[in-house]
Symmetry: C2
Subunit: 238 residues, 2 copies
DNA sequence: TCAAAAGTGTTAAGCCTACACCCATGA
DNA sequence: TCATGGGTGTAGGCTTAACACTTTTGA
């Protein structure tokens, strides 16, 4: 057993300690009007060249893991200021066969219309619906599962779902989003009731005419209202 | 901007990457029949000698972060097989002034009667109630806050509170535990009702006579029942 | 006999769930 | 005119929250 600290010398021994590679891996969620999808890359580099994996990168000097996740994300999608949430650190000494690397995962929520297709093409990236995703390298499959669980919890307690939608969206799109995240059907009347109770949407005059002849009203998320509610102790609970 | 991967060479450049120190820090929760407390150490080593901090240690070769947290915990308390849950990775390049170190935190739940007082004395460790805890070094204060939030969520959704209690406990002890974790008062009739509905306790014949003249019945947590419930889709929700 | 904690049930309010019909419009 | 998706209200059951008195027994 290794001693935790050098009690005897009264100085802890930083320089004798093992230094490790640290990476971030991003679980990139997008919503294409029907389904929750994740963006995966086909590796054109070793190890595991040709297989599917999450997009990741090594932590650089002077960079937080959040910075690194943002960088990775921007490299792949061209997007910045994306919603990111840390999920877990994976530390199995054997998880990367080339060299021990610990990986910190983040999930990202993007409006899948926004991303730069040139860049994703360059990285041989592709969107997959959750059920149809290929097998992933290393522990990336587990990472995805873990991220989904976290996302499910988080969406039911904070209004992060809107990150996945365009600025203006219909009630139906919002409902489909929640259905696909929570993986359950929701009655549309009950859903509308609940959302309206939360009092964080602004109903616009405008209608989206693409999905039906009648057209459906567009809404936007009112961040200020949400924050005011939060201050007043009214919490978002779906 | 640093390239994520060496696309050109089709081999990612592990050896050129920065290697970092990785540590774990433990937020050790205990319950002393009245209050939730945390175990802190007074540092007898640099940096920040003489100040209070969480107990931590560097990640060793061939050790997962969970292994490391267990080791740290055993070193301080003599306990093993303790409930541990990973919370967050802290990666600010300046968080440790001596050398860049990323820290992965775990919270531990222990029955505070069990720990080895010799060992804690050796490390100048002391229990503090959450309100009375001293200021902590680095980002350890934030780590504690983050861990409490996670603990609150987890206890309301999984029966981990029992980890903090002795094998046999009274309904009142259990209630006080939940009150101190959730930081709110609970009506004892409603509490008993809810707990009984969960159907995971065994009421013993035995009474604890220490807290009142009448005495109060002791209970134990029935792990098998809980797992059976879980399998049948009945979930623990407080 | 009194003080102190244990134990126990009921009611009202709010919340959640299930459920069905009309509307507007383009084809 | 019909097919498609949009929009809306209500009733019953369930869960939650509020609330007070009796029991036991050691001091």
């Amino acid at each position: 057993m290794v001693p935790i600290i050098e009690n005897m010398s009264s100085v802890s021994n930083y320089q004798d300690q093992t230094h490790l590679l640290v990476a971030v891996d991003c679980i990139i969620f997008g919503f294409d009007k029907e389904e929750l999808k994740i963006l995966l890359i086909k590796r054109n580099f070793e190890p595991e060249m040709g297989k599917w994996s999450l997009m990741g990168g090594f932590l650089q000097p002077n960079e937080t893991s959040e910075n690194a996740a943002n960088r990775v994300l921007e490299t792949l999608t061209g997007l910045h200021d994306v919603y990111l949430d840390q999920v877990h650190a994976y530390t199995d000494p054997k998880r990367d066969p080339v060299e021990r690397t610990i990986s910190i995962t983040y999930y990202a929520l993007i409006n899948s219309e926004d991303h730069n297709e040139e860049l994703t093409k360059q990285h041989s990236a592709q969107w997959f619906s959750l059920n149809e995703a290929p097998e992933l390298i290393f522990d990336h499959g587990q990472m995805v599962q873990h991220a989904i669980n976290r996302l499910r919890y988080k969406t039911s307690v904070q209004p992060i779902g809107f990150e996945l939608l365009p600025e203006k969206f219909t009630m139906r799109q919002l409902q489909r989003l929640y259905e696909t995240i929570l993986n359950e059907e929701i009655d549309k009347r009950n859903f509308a009731k609940k959302i309206n109770q939360l009092d964080v949407l602004i109903k616009l005059e405008e209608k989206d005419m693409s999905s039906s002849k009648k057209g459906s009203f567009l809404f936007t998320f009112d961040k200020d209202k949400y924050e005011a509610n939060t201050k007043n102790g009214i919490s978002f609970k779906l």
